[in-house]
Point group: C2
Chain length 526, copies 2
């Protein structure tokens, strides 16, 4: 009945055209503190766009950086970290091994240990940056207008606070909901599932009990996970503030999700949804890849990646994948960085790096085998490719649940993955038309939006620069403590008043009753 | 340092240009059930824009309509109401008198009686429409794609539900927060002030206690205010549903406010902020008005309106205004529909109708004297004109508080208004530069937005038509009752478990202690 709003899309392109015609908005100075790895890949898109619009972008990069590299479009400023690249690689290798071999993903403690071991090294790197006084002085003198940072690690928010810069946070979400807590965003445990709970937004009574217990556990987890963050924050800022207190001063939270992925839940005025920011821009495929995928005929091809961390695996596991791939007519493109395994099937091509979004955008892409990182998921949604998902660690299992419950993906465990299970999942997703239909519908809804996520992120970053923050969007709840926010003091007071009123009433009644009883015998005597 | 995003504004115009160039999106059929009076004035803008974009708009109009009139851009379908225009006018006249003479605005019961007397007549009109079977059958057969309605009165939402149409609600807010309740939007009483509470978003402990008591009172008020709505809803739909249950199925809530007016508070994914939708389009002034305001010289002029309801007042009150106006060099334009009063000062012009927004947009507009309706306030904000506010009834006092606390307005009471007080307020707003500075800043922030409110309203109306709703934005909380939503059953269960555990532990301890004590005497004996 109604067509997709081509006009709004056309308007976006015209806006881009206009920008280049009229020239960018007068430039601001932006200090960028990213988090290495996949986190950087989507933030980079915003950094490049802001740079293109005439802002001076200074990106702080640890000298052991994996994915953050120099560029023509932005300035990088390297800082020393107290560990070598080899030590970092070793730590990541250990994490990989733990991930592949872990018998049970849902093991909460396994996940927390993984998270702690990953962040503890990074926090040390962060400390090293903060106490590099020459560099900090140099940065302070630059008089930046904005701190653009990923609050997954504490450096950016702490520097923002130390320099009194308005901060824009770029994130999918923080462990144990620290972002929601800091933004004073309600998150009712009755329908907002907690991380690692395996719940969806529709819960049975036992699931709601579990969710409530997980909510309580989050409070304790927060203390553990963020203890080093809190210590560094209060030590560096020389006052008794927690990391949460620093985050609470966010001007804008750029949330890298929307409601085709996340379950609908409350938001705050300074939270802006930019889910799908990573898959807006498509480039043509390199010639060799184009030839490979074109040669897949009507059967099409499968894209297979397990994210930044896990791009190799034990030979025995690899052979299970090969065994399954040999039994399907589709071609397979697999991002694989380890030692080249033996007996690679003819229909499989291993590559050290894949243009994932461009491949998924190809009309012959049939299935996307992925670990369930939020970036990959959005590339699957944008390009309407149904998924076979193998969650590994962190929020991935929760992400995967969100896709499975929408009927656009099948889920597998890496630990007990064998060729038969993989084959069954791939065939199910390939042959059951509902997966393709549902992801197509989800993709249409995701892309049917009044403004593109990148434009929204640019707008709010520039808004914060123009107005020195976004105070009109910050809730007054920021001035309340936990007891006040939940009105527990008010309830206590009202309960006290009620008790006193009831007490006085009862006493008065008893007094009256006693009076009456005294009189009765008297009158009898009379 | 950074300029206002002229590019985004330019892009809007280009979008409009594009729309006319490429032609509108393929047309849908929209049934519109507005609320008469000022409510219609802003909804009309959306109705006309949707019509311009090729949608068939059918507007239901009571045959006693005050402001809703026929138009070339949309179809009107008149329906009979069981009262005459004279009776309606009489009822409104009574309301006016009560408003002007009421000794104390904040009298909650006065307000509720006013609200009930206004809605009870309208609900009868609504009933008359619902039970006009021929008309309802005719409408049903039109197979509309969307119900666009103002849920201030129940007809629209009930028809939407009866016809199984996805509904877009257009509103500022509903009495006693029924809209927030239906949308499952959290509204913590610790910092979200309740209607008639006179609180801001920053409250002292006593104010928070008052706000909590008002929250409790709202529950009772809701029962009273919406009892006739509930009765009509369940009777017409022939099942046990309340008006709130019907509202809960909203696809999109178009909220006619933003956070330059409202205090920052949580929102839901299907709530879209379109504050300021009524002041985007400006037209040149009629020649006689242009001449009058141009002749005001450097002193400029004052715009004075008290809304749709109150456009006349007792002679004695009018003379108090005149007395004040005689003492200022500014010219005054006053919307006044009653009998022409005597001794009109030379600098005052009375008019039956004012192009309020176009006048406020004039560079010589110095002060806006207004009752604090949300439409007028947004016209004040858009055009950066500081205000002298005389709240009359409904949400106006709360609206006025929001402007006063931002330092862009002075507030007066109609009951005890005398020339001296009015004069003092006008002079304060004219001479103290902070009012002008603050409203200019507020206006800049209000207009610095990624997409215009009208475009946003159009987008989401069309989105709902394209996808038959916006289910992906509807929270799963809709399936929970009050006890479940607040996890009271879960708390109860956990408390029970805790009690049992404590009971068993205590019993076990006591058993052990008893055992120990028994043994001791024995061993002593031995």
């Amino acid at each position: 009945m109604l067509k997709v709003p081509c006009l709004l899309v056309a308007s976006l392109w015209l806006q881009l055209f206009l920008c280049s015609f009229l020239g960018p908005v007068e430039g601001g100075k932006v200090l960028v503190m990213p988090v290495d790895g996949s986190h950087w890949l989507s933030m980079k898109i915003l950094v490049e766009e802001l740079s293109r619009r005439g802002h001076e972008m200074v990106v702080l990069v640890p000298d052991t950086s994996v994915l953050i590299q120099g560029s023509d479009t932005y300035t990088t400023r390297s800082f020393k970290v107290p560990y070598t690249k080899a030590e970092l690689d070793g730590s990541m290798k250990k994490l990989q091994e733990r991930i592949i071999k872990a018998p049970e993903f849902s093991d909460l403690f396994e996940n927390i240990i993984g998270l702690l071991s990953f962040t503890s090294m990074q926090v040390k790197g962060c400390e090293s940056l903060l106490y590099d006084e020459a560099l900090m002085q140099e940065l302070r003198e630059k008089r930046f207008d904005l701190m653009l940072t990923d609050p997954f690690l504490p450096c950016g928010p702490i520097i923002g606070k130390a320099f009194s810069l308005p901060a824009v946070y770029f994130l999918r979400g923080l462990p144990c909901g620290l972002d929601l807590d800091a933004a004073q965003c309600p998150s009712p445990p009755s329908y907002v599932p907690r991380l690692f709970s395996d719940n969806t937004d529709v819960m049975t009574f036992p699931q709601r009990v579990k969710n409530m217990l997980m909510t309580g556990l989050e409070g304790i987890l927060c203390k553990v996970i963020y203890s080093s963050f809190d210590e560094l924050t209060s030590r560096y800022l020389k006052k008794d503030v927690s990391y949460r207190d620093v985050l609470a001063h966010a001007a804008i939270w750029l949330n890298r999700f929307d409601f085709t992925f996340e379950y609908p839940r409350p938001g705050m005025p300074n939270m802006v949804k930019i889910g799908g920011i990573n898959c807006a821009k498509r480039k043509p495929l390199p010639a060799d890849l184009e030839e490979f995928v074109d040669g897949s005929g009507d059967h099409g091809f499968i894209v297979f990646t397990l994210g930044t961390f896990v791009s190799e695996m034990p030979e025995s596991k690899t052979q299970e994948f090969f065994k399954a791939f040999r039994q399907i007519p589709q071609r397979v493109l697999w991002r694989y960085t380890g030692v080249t395994p033996k007996d690679i099937p003819e229909n499989v091509k291993l590559l050290k790096w894949l243009p994932q979004n461009d491949l998924l955008a190809h009309p012959k892409a049939k299935v996307f085998i992925t670990h369930g990182g939020s970036h990959g998921i959005y590339e699957g949604i944008c390009n309407a490719v149904p998924m076979v998902m193998i969650p590994l660690f962190g929020d991935q299992r929760d992400n995967v649940n969100r896709m499975v419950v929408r009927g656009v993906a099948e889920s597998l465990n890496m630990y007990d993955l064998i060729a038969e299970k993989l084959l069954m999942a791939i065939r199910k997703v390939l042959n059951d038309k509902s997966y393709r239909e549902k992801i197509t519908k989800l993709s249409l809804i995701h892309k049917d939006r009044p403004i593109e996520p990148l434009d929204l992120a640019v707008f709010w970053s520039e808004f914060v620069m123009r107005h020195g923050g976004a105070k009109h969007l910050s809730p007054a709840a920021q001035h309340l403590n936990w007891v006040q926010y939940h009105s527990l003091d008010v309830f206590g007071f009202l309960l006290l008043v009620l008790t006193i009123v009831v007490f006085i009433s009862v006493k008065t009644c008893m007094f009256c009753v006693r009076k009456c009883f005294r009189r009765t015998p008297k009158s009898k005597k009379e």
